[in-house]
Each structure stands twice: as C-alpha cells, then as structure tokens.
Symmetry: C2
Subunit: 639 residues, 2 copies
C-alpha cells in the first residue's frame, strides 16, 4: 500500500467563477467564515423582522369589517402573539444550547420523537422556506411597483433579477451575505424603531389623544358585529409575524465561538426587536385609529405607510422609512437562503434527499441547496407571474408545524436526559409545544379554504418523496455493499468488438487500443446500400490482408476476425447491437468491450456533421443493460 | 481473413415504428417501390398543377388598377407564360433522357458548368422547396379558414397538423405517397378541367357573349393608365405558375422501368394539364370579365371561385370543385417532400451537406431530408403564425435560377457531347436558358422590394454554409486518411486510473475490469470534507491491505497503487483531472485509461439521486482533449 498525499490547489489565475463568487475557500477557512451575533441578525433574522411589516397588517385586514370597534382588538391580539413569541423564544434558546451543532426542527424531532416526525417537520419547513422566498421577493417588488407604476410590466423580470442577486450573494458565502445585508437591516430597525419609540413617548406624554401629521384615511363603519370567529381569524393571520423565528436554531454552526452564546444573542436581538416593533405598531394603530385598507383596491395604503405618515408627515423621513421597509421585505427571502440548504443537508445526511445536498461548494455554502431553492422559488414566481399574494395564507402552516414538533421533541429530550433544571426546561418547551400546537390548529381551520389545504397536501407529498429517495438509496446500498476482499480470480481479457466502416487513422488508433485490451478482436463491418463512402468501405475489405492481417502477424498478435454483416434493411446499429449480444451469450464468462471510434470536434456544431451512432449504440446497449458489456469510446481529436 | 455473411432481419413483432411508417423495406424491394407515370403526377406534379390556382390570380391582382382594360392583357400574358412553359418542358424532357439517374438542376449545373454553379442551383432550389411547403400548406389552410371562419384561431395548429400528416405519408415511402394523393390530384384535374372545357365549348358556340350563372363582381374602373411596367410585373407574378416544373427531372430514379420514358410521360401529363388549365382560365376570365379582387379585403373572392360560380352557379358542383382546388393547394407541398430529400442527397454525396442526407431510411426514402424539410417549413410556419402570404414573392426566384442554370448546363452538355441531334437539342436548351434567364431578371427587378431580396441574400448564405461543410469534411479526410498498413508495433498496456471513494461491489467490478486492461493500476481516492459517506471512505483506506492488496498478490498481480489526494477545497473532479494529466505527461508513450464506475438506473429520474461526476469528468477530459486519454465508463446496472 502506497499513500501519496497531495494538495490540489485552485488555479492561480482568476476565472469567471472567481469573479462571480469569490476565490474558493479551503475547508480550514471555515472558522473565518463564521459570523458573530451582529451579522447573525441580517443572515438569519430578516425573515422574522420583516414579519413586523406584514403580520399586524394581516390581522388588521381581517378586522376591517368590524370598523373602529375592530381596532380595539388589535392590542390584545398583538399581546397574545407576543406572549406566544416569548414562549417560542425561550424554548429555542434551550434548543440552541442542547444542539450546538444545529438543532433545527428536523434534527430535534427526528432524534427525540422519531424519523417520521422529523420528516414532517423537515417537509413543512422546506415548503415554508420556498414560499417565503417567492412571497418575500414578490412583496418587495410589489411595493416598488406600486410606488413606481411605470415598472408594472417588468414585475416578473424584477422578481427574477432580485432572486438572482440574492442567489449570487448567498453563493459567495455566509460572511459576505451578513456584510451585504447588515446596513439595510439595521437601517430598517433604526428607522421603524425610531419612529415608533418617538411616537410612543410623544403619545404617552400627550395622553391617548395623538395628533397625526397626516390624518390616516377614516375607517369604514362596521358592517359586521363582533364575534369570536373574526378575532380568531385575525389572530391566525397575525401569527405570520412569527415565521422565521426558527432560523437561528438551525444555523448554530454558522456562528463564531462561543457558538451557543453567539447564536442565543442573535436570537435575543431578533426577538427583542420584533416584540418592540409588534407592540409599537399595535399601540400606535390603536392610538391613531389606523386600520388596514382593503388590499388590491384603489386607495390602498399599507398600515406602516399610514403610521409613518401620521407620525412624520410625508417628507424625507417618510420616504427613508418606507424605503427601508421595502428593502427588508424583499431581503426577507434571505433567511430561507441561509436555512434551506442547511435543512436539506441534515435531511440528505440521513439519506432522505440526494446526497449532493451534503456537499459544500467553493465558498463553503451548500451550493446545491442554494440553487435548488432559487430554482423552486423562481418556478413559483414564474407560475404566479411575480404576484404571490395568494400564497401568504399557506405560509404559517409550515412554520407552526415545525415549532410544535421541535418543542415537543425538546420535551422528550429533557424527559430522557433529566439532570439539573430539566423539569423547568421541560415545562417551558411543553408550554411552547402546546401553545404553538393549538395555534397551528387554529391556523389550519381558519385558513383552510384560503389555501392552507395546499400545504396540508404538499407536506405529505414531499414526505413520501423523501421516503422513496431513502428506500432507493437503501436498495442500492444492499445491492452493492461488500464487506469482504475483492475476488480477483479468473480474470480473462475481454472480447473486443470494433465496428469499422473504413480504413483511416482513426481506425488504426482504435485497433492499437484494442490490442492493449485483448488479443481476442472482432472487427465488425456493415455492408449494404446506405453506407456512406462505399469506396472507402471497399478499401477496408479489399486491403484487409495487407493493412491489418500482415502487420498483426508481424507484431506477433492474432489478427482480428473480420466479420462482415450484410444489412439489407440499411440498419447499422441493430446488426452491431445484436452481434454484441450474441457474443455475450456465447461466452458467459467474458466481458465484451465494444470499442466505438469517435471524432471529437472542437465545436459542438460540428457534431451535426457526423453520425451520432456512437452515442446511440451506447444508449441501446445501456438500455438492454447487461453487466458484461462495456462500451468504450475511443476519441479522435480533430485538430 | 475470415468473412461471415449474416443477414440482419427486422424483428418479427410489430413495433410502434411499423404501425406509423410501415414495415422496413429491404434495399432489394426498391424496384417494387418505383412508380409509373400515373402515380408520378401526384408525387412530383402537385406543385406545378396547383400553380394554376395561384399563378393567373397573381397576375390578375397586379392588373386590378387597370380595371377592365387590364383584363384584355391576361390572354397575351398567359400565352407568353405558356410559350415559356413549353420551352422549359422540351428542355427538361431532354435533361431526363440525358440524366436517367436523376438530373436535377444541381447535378446538371455541377457536371456541365462547375461546382459553384451547381451549388447556386442547389441552394436556390432548396430555399424554393422549403418556401413551397410553408406557402402551400398555409394557402390550403387559409382557404379552409376563410370558408369556416370558426377555425381561425386554430390556423397554426391546422398548418402544423397538415405538415405532420404530409411528413408521415412521405416517410411511408414514395409508392404509398403516390397512392394516397392519386385521387385528390385527378379529382382536381377532372373538376377544374371539366368546368373549363365545358365552358370553353359553350362560349365558343355562343360566341364571346357568355352568360354567367352567377355574375362576377363588377371590375373597378381603371385608376391607372396602361404602361409597360405593370404588364411586366403581372408577367413576373404569373410566372409563379411555372414553379414545380423541375421536380420530375430530379426524381427520375423513383420511376419504374423504362425509367426515362415513364418520367417523360409524367412530365408530359403534368405540363399538358397545366397548359390547358392556364389557357382555359385566361380565356374564361377574359370572356366573363372576371378580374381579381383585392386580397385581404372584405368581399375578396378568388378568381377560380368566381369562375366556377359563373360557369356552374353556387351549387354542389361549385363546392366539389372548390374543395378539390383547396385539397390540391394544400397538398402542393408534397412535391417538395418528394424532391427536397433527393436534392439534399445529391448535394451531400458531394460532401456539401452532412452525409446523413445520403442514408435511405426503413421505407427507402431519405428520412433525414424529409424530416429536415418538415422542421424548416414548420419553423417558417410558426414564425409567420401560419400566414405566409408575404413569402409568395420570394418564390419564383429560386425556381427560375434553377431553370436557367439547368438549361445552360444542358447547352454545355450537348456542346461537349456532340452527336446526332445535338445541335437541335442545344438550340432548345439554349432558348430555354435565355428565356428563363431573362424572366429571372424581370422577376428579381419586379419583385425586389416585395421580398425577392431575401432570397437574393439567403441563397449566397446557404452556399457559403455548404462550402464550409465541404471544407470541414475535406480537412477531416486529410487528417485521418491512411493509405498504408496499420502500425501495430510497440503496443504497451495502458496505465489505468480508477477513482474510488468507497469499497463496494461496484468497486470490485471496476477493479476486475481494470485488471483485464492492464497490470499497471492506480486507485485514486479523494480525501477531504464534503465527501459523502466518510465512514465508507475510511473503510476503503483502512481495509486496503485486506480487501485489495492481499487478493491481488494471491492472484499473482501487482497490487494497485493507492493514491490518496487531499482536497482542502472540496474539489473532486479537478484533482482527478489533474492527476490524470500528470500521469499522461509522465509517460509519453502510454495510453491512460480512466475507469469511471457508474450506476445505471432503470429510470432516468433516478440519475438525479447520484453524482453526475462520471459524465462531468469525461467532458472535462474531452475538452482538454488529449489523444492518449480514454475514459471508460464501467456500468453497474441497478436491478
């Protein structure tokens, strides 16, 4: 046994890939690619934070029919959501601590409840992440288009461009993604937070009678009486504000040491900001009497736009705040880009997804996962022509399924592990599992008709696909597994079949190569009308003795057997194919190597000028699959 | 030398191909596939005959601005065309006699004037044939749609369906095509001829004062004075009636023995009918005062429709006649299907087109030519959405270029050959060449702005492409030609490089095959993060001695060298690729065989579950093309 260690270095000259994605990163550079809590917020938190922009709005939209009365309920609804968010926060803190190598819902549910529960969580999250990319991008572009109506015809193109940019940034690595999105994230937080804080303080000083700079549109009078159902639906819609919270727990490995602490800090920052935003928005909507306007109708204005205008007037500040909100909305897709590939990696490591998902690319990100996400989201965007509003109700189902399973899994974890503080942790996670589970039921019931049923169908479909993939891998493993030494006895040289139509340098090369494989050669010649170059074909047969037999004998080899097949039906491939099968039947202990001389052209379009018989023959022999036939292309490179 | 003759028979069970195209025909069945003059008319004459439906109409359309005065000129214009047609007829009769193996304009011009002239004729005809298919089909469908306006939205679909049907019929062989189109062709001739004859006799008896059954729409009053230019333009337009006349001379080989006689008879029938139709239409238009109506405007009615209505009234006879005209119009594309593949074969035999055009398919037709024509015409139809009126002016340029060159070639032929009657033949062909040449100039000048310029550009483009193809073939011929015995000295077994990531049955099979090739084996193992199945990889290295070395020594082989490449950048292909190139540099006198074990799945979609590295590696090694590296896929067929 001889082992040579060699390092394969990337080429020193810059390739197009280097310019697009940056130089390749060595596996050892992993540490430098890790991020701290500050960069963690844009990488993993954009989804959660941007939820503040649409969660309250979604709840308020449901309350429109209740008029001004409905508005009084936004504060208790938001408080309920905040309480739920806090419970989820504490349980994910614990998950991060318990799974420092990444404790996404898939991992936690698989390890503590069982494989099927894990797949359920995994599939739910995968669908959620794909939807999030499509919805996030189309929401951002939608807002841009409503500000600049001239761009309307380019909606889809803008969506796809944004998707491409996000994909490129994410392919450049985690650290660069963090750096790129740092500024817009914190600008958003500063702007919206500043406006809200400023105003909350002002209204607290002035009492509840705040004077808006720009008066929001008056609320329509109530057309429905208050009852429990619309309030529940409003709560279910408002819960979309919680999507994206699980992202950090999945990506602990991306954080710098002390890993757990960094991840927990990032999660704390994200949740704290989100709670502040949600509370502030609820309070101010109530104070200013700001309700939602019916979406998709003339005069539509988002709640945050009304709120900012009421606080600051329609001046520069307003446009900066609105700009920051739009940017963050369209970048919210980025959380999916950070988490989806990690989730797929975890699932693929268990064999439920193609194992190409486990390979880190040149910039240490899971290239295949990033690209798959981009393609799937791109298809969704194309299918819906860039307007994905109708997908929003599908959203929260996946996230809350994952929440519930993850926390139920943690309960089992503490129960099994025991130890100091386990009871308290169990209580927190149990409370989390219970409350998110109840919420999930509410969401499914409230949103079933609006589209949640699609998710309810798609999740089991995806699970079945994953089980199928795993079964296939298992089958191949069973079939090919070998736990014993190689059997190298009775190796006989193959019989070589070499189809030749004319004598040329290509034929000579193939013949030379054939003799390196075996002394048992059969040259196959197809005769019959329809063979181009009849003259050249005749040369081969007439000069066989002089061109081939004599030199072979002189070199001490058995001359090849020349087999002339007459083909009255002008078939070429079928006779070769059948001859090979016949030889293979006749010699059950030998390999049959079919040598196919092939012209390799420098340009693909030259291929049109030559018969594609080599490839067709290979395909035919592959399809009739036999283990002892091997097709070998002998390339002749055209200068 | 050992020669075994074997007949490859088609499979006895009927395949889907047999049902679509009929059973394969042996080359010996060629004679039975030949056609007589009666079947020759529909196969080669549909284009020429259907010209009667649009030639006079095209001339009359140009005469519209001259009002009733214009109509008086249709008789002399038609007479000129008929004289021209007769000259062309006599010269093509001679061509058929002189070139009994098929004397298309390409062959005649190449052999008598020169290669470039031949290419010019060939390119002109090729473009003409493609246009003819698109225009013929869209004219037929257009007429059908104007009769049944409800079909309007399906114009393109109808065109493509008709194209598909024509392609299928033609792929079934020449004889079947003749049989299928026999009835509609002779129905057309009988109907239109009958109407015209009946009426000519009637008007002759009644003097010039024929009483129409249905009075044709009154001609508009003249808006332009009579001058030479519109008359010349009308003549140029009317000349489209002559397209398709060259078809028979190109397809002599398709006729039954006595071949020349059969072909000449078919040509005589076609021309005779065409002359009768043209003369009759001209005479009756004049007699009834039938002019063209402006096309594309409300109230449009074709000349033949007016004429039939005037003769027979709008009754059953009218609808049968119109139906026959429409059928033949849409089937006129068939002439192209009969001739285009033969033309391409002739050009490809000289190396100016890919040689796949020379291969006769299962039904003894040139499958590739038929399919190319269908695809090119299909693209034209799609590009013009099934309405190709604007292509009509492009039409006659190709046909008349071919006429002129063919007859000029015949002049040279007689001049060189001499012998009895050569002078007379020379005169006839010379007159033909001169008159068609003059007509060609008139057509180009008269139709240049309307679109003939496209043909004038496209023909040289096609010629350049053909010269380029020939040059490429010549280069490859020079490069690979070998007129001496094979050099079979100093053949050394290849160095085998076998990349293995884990130990399995697949690896064992590859190893066994490697030993049939050579004793000089290198097993390549890539180490580094990102390799799936790290555990399995470790097994390979740790058990190397037990699993591979010992059995190799026991079997009497040199054990393979195990080369472990550390790949910090997680590249897999690049290290293998570079290692292979290095080995190849180190041993300039050896072949390097790269064995790539490959899982062959029964279904294509399973391929997604496995790395496509085998193919990527092959592609990389092909692109960096080196003559001593051969990639061998060792297939493992998954059960």
């Amino acid at each position: 046994m001889k082992v040579i260690e060699k390092a394969a270095e990337p080429a020193p000259q810059k390739s197009i890939l280097d310019i697009l994605f940056g130089r390749p990163l060595s596996s050892e550079e992993d540490t430098a690619e890790r991020i701290g809590p500050v960069a963690g917020v844009p990488v993993f938190g954009l989804d959660a934070l941007s939820s503040a922009a649409y969660g309250p709005e979604a709840a308020l939209t449901i309350l429109i029919p209740l008029g001004l009365t409905g508005l009084t309920y936004i504060v208790p609804i938001s408080l309920t959501i905040i309480v739920l968010l806090s419970i989820v926060y504490f349980s994910y803190r614990q998950t991060i601590a318990a799974y420092p190598t990444g404790g996404g819902s898939y991992t936690v549910a698989t390890q503590n409840i069982g494989g099927r529960a894990g797949l359920l969580a995994g599939a739910a999250l995968m669908i959620d992440y794909i939807l999030n990319v499509a919805v996030g991008i189309s929401a951002g572009v939608g807002a841009l288009v409503s500000a600049l109506p001239g761009l309307q015809p380019y909606t889809l193109a803008l969506c796809l461009t944004l998707l491409l940019l996000l994909t490129l940034v994410n392919l450049r690595g985690v650290r660069e993604t963090g750096l790129v999105f740092l500024a817009p994230t914190y600008l958003f937080v500063a702007c919206l937070g500043g406006v809200i804080l400023f105003e909350v303080i002002k209204t607290l000083l002035l009492g509840s009678h705040a004077a808006p700079v720009v008066t929001p549109p008056p609320l329509p009078s109530a057309v429905a009486a208050v009852s429990l159902w619309p309030l529940i639906k409003a709560f279910a819609s408002g819960c979309t504000a919680m999507t994206g919270v699980e992202a950090v727990s999945n990506g602990v490995q991306a954080f710098r040491e002390p890993r757990v602490k960094s991840a927990q800090t990032a999660l704390t920052i994200i949740i704290a900001i989100l709670v502040l935003l949600l509370a502030g928005i609820a309070y101010l909507s109530r104070a200013y009497g700001i309700g939602a306007t019916p979406p998709g109708q003339p005069g539509y204005q988002s709640v945050l736009s009304q709120l900012t205008a009421a606080v600051a007037g329609k001046n520069t500040v307003y446009f900066i705040v609105i700009g920051a909100i739009l940017t963050v909305l369209s970048l919210s897709a980025n959380t999916s880009f950070a988490d989806f590939p990690r989730l797929c990696r975890a699932i693929a490591e268990d064999g439920y997804l193609p194992n190409v998902f486990t390979i880190r690319g040149r910039r240490l990100v899971f290239t295949f996962g990033v690209c798959s996400l981009a393609i799937l989201a791109g298809l969704l965007l194309i299918a819906f022509r860039g307007v994905t509003d109708r997908l929003i109700p599908l959203f929260a189902v996946g996230a809350f399924t994952a929440f519930t399973l993850s926390q139920a899994g943690m309960v089992m974890h503490w129960k099994r592990g025991g130890g100091h503080g386990a009871r308290a942790s169990m209580f927190i996670n149990g409370l989390g599992a219970f409350s998110t589970g109840v919420t999930l039921c509410i969401i499914i019931v409230a949103k079933f008709i609006e589209g949640a049923w699609i998710t309810v169908i798609a999740i089991p479909g995806l699970i079945m696909l994953m089980i199928y993939v795993r079964k296939h891998y298992d089958r191949i493993e069973r079939e090919t597994a070998l736990r014993e030494p190689a059997n190298l006895k009775n190796i006989i040289n193959p019989i070589v079949v070499l189809p030749l139509q004319r004598w040329s340098r290509v034929a000579e090369k193939a013949l030379r190569f054939a003799y390196t494989l075996s002394r048992d050669l059969r040259v196959l010649h197809i005769q019959g009308e329809g063979q181009p170059n009849q003259q050249a074909a005749d040369t081969l047969i007439n000069s066989w003795e002089q061109y081939v037999e004599k030199p072979a004998l002189q070199a001490g080899y058995t001359p090849p057997e020349l087999v002339v097949l007459h083909s009255p039906y002008r078939f070429v491939l079928t006779p070769i194919f059948e001859y090979v099968l016949e030889v293979e039947r006749k010699y059950p202990d030998r390999h049959v190597a079919v040598l196919v001389p092939e012209l390799i052209e420098r340009h693909w379009f030259y291929h049109l000028l030559h018969n594609q018989r080599a490839n067709a023959l290979k395909l035919m022999l592959y399809l009739k699959g036999n283990r002892r036939i091997i097709v070998i292309n002998v390339p002749w490179y055209v200068r």
